[in-house]
């Protein structure tokens, strides 16, 4: 089952990994910042070598001035910057599928499976992962490549564990969400149509 899913034409969706998330600024860096970036870099390397599609999402915040286009904080984290030809989608809304052409881009490319990672576990990563499942995509969440901040109720570590425990148990119109650590995630080429 798992091997079959991993052969589907796949896109790696790197969500909101922007410089403003790493300080210095009004907020401290996200939890496990360097580990998360290193794991996303590993996913990117694997996806690129497999010929999977790579799509970055950038959040244009409605309030936070650091997250406006043109600001240094808006840029995708330099260590995992897009390569020429890779798609970058700007969103203003939590769910990456709302108000963007992401679904159209994926359908046009014949993508059937998404691997999700990025920031924040409990907001845009959760929303994109649920959103993809609800749209009928096979989805794998990279369990060690998403992060967040403490929120006053839970620590970031608890939030990450909660998201990892919850999403795979959710019913969708088709397959359930899979959860795997970065090292175990395989990518199917997006070039076979």
């Amino acid at each position: 089952m798992a091997e079959q899913a991993s052969k589907l034409p796949t896109a790696l969706l790197v969500i909101d990994v922007q410089e403003a998330m790493f300080g210095p600024g009004q907020q401290p860096p996200v939890f496990w910042a360097e580990e998360t970036v290193a794991n996303i870099a590993a996913l990117l390397a694997e996806a690129r070598s497999a010929g999977a599609r790579v799509i970055y999402v950038q959040h244009h915040d409605q309030v936070d001035l650091a997250m406006q286009p043109g600001q240094p904080g808006f840029a995708i984290r330099a260590a995992i910057a897009p390569e020429p030809g890779e798609t970058v989608i700007v969103k203003r809304i939590c769910d990456t599928f709302t108000g963007t052409n992401l679904e159209h881009v994926l359908r046009q490319a014949g993508i059937q499976r998404l691997v999700t990672c990025g920031i924040q576990s409990d907001f845009c990563v959760d929303a994109a992962t649920r959103g993809a499942m609800n749209r009928g995509f096979s989805v794998t969440l990279a369990s060690d490549a998403h992060t967040t901040w403490d929120n006053g109720v839970l620590t970031a570590e608890q939030i990450i564990a909660h998201v990892n425990a919850t999403l795979p148990n959710m019913s969708g119109p088709g397959q359930r969400i899979r959860i795997k650590s970065t090292q175990k995630i395989e990518f199917g080429s997006a070039n076979v149509r």
């Binding site: 809304i93 769910d95 907001f123 609800n134 929120n151 608890q158 990892n164 425990a165 119109p173």
Partner: protein, 190 residues
């Protein structure tokens, strides 16, 4: 903004006998009685105001108790629908996914949803996010949804976490707010 300008629907999610009652190996959710009582309060207020009332039921065909035909599949008797109220069955977590919920709400001119029910971290979270992303303003009844411990967090922490995060999601001009059941106002809807 006057109440009349925001036709409201109360959406009661998955409050079925199988979810709420005590079964061997499947105990009642956290603060069951309080949640049922708070939903009862909102139902009374919504009905009195002429708001739309919609019940959602989850079908999980691999569990007999969650399958149509089983008495435990029905909405919990403590908060049962009255004649003329809408009941929608779903198989996906998100109440909007592959159901008529959105067209029913649009048809009734609803712009504002109040969400409550089961489970906090699954179908209540999904419906609340989804409604906001589809352009509805949403009030989450913070004391009228529940869940179970999940091995990572206790139910009370899960509830507190979702009450904390959902009102902070950036939406498409619509938003989510969290309020206690008794504080929630209802406006009439077609």
């Amino acid at each position: 903004m006057s109440e009349q300008s925001k036709p409201t629907a109360l959406v009661v999610i998955d409050v079925q006998g199988a979810m709420m009652d005590d079964y061997p190996d499947d105990p009642s959710p956290f603060r069951k009685d309080e949640v049922l009582a708070n939903i009862g309060t909102m139902l009374a207020n919504a009905r009195a105001a002429g708001s739309k009332v919609i019940f959602v039921r989850h079908v999980e065909s691999k569990y007999p108790l969650m399958s149509p035909g089983n008495p435990a599949f029905e909405v919990h008797p403590a908060i049962a629908p009255i004649e003329g109220e809408t009941v929608i069955d779903k198989t996906a977590c998100d109440s909007f996914c592959a159901t008529d919920l959105e067209p029913i709400l649009r048809e009734a001119g609803v712009t504002h949803l109040v969400t409550c029910g089961m489970q906090t971290d699954f179908c209540v979270d999904s419906a609340t996010r989804s409604a906001m992303h589809r352009g509805f303003n949403v009030t989450l009844a913070t004391d009228a949804h529940s869940t179970w411990d999940n091995g990572v967090l206790t139910a009370d922490l899960i509830i507190a976490h979702h009450n904390k995060i959902l009102p902070n999601l950036p939406g498409p001009g619509t938003d989510i707010s969290g309020k206690e059941s008794a504080e929630i106002e209802f406006a009439p809807a077609g």
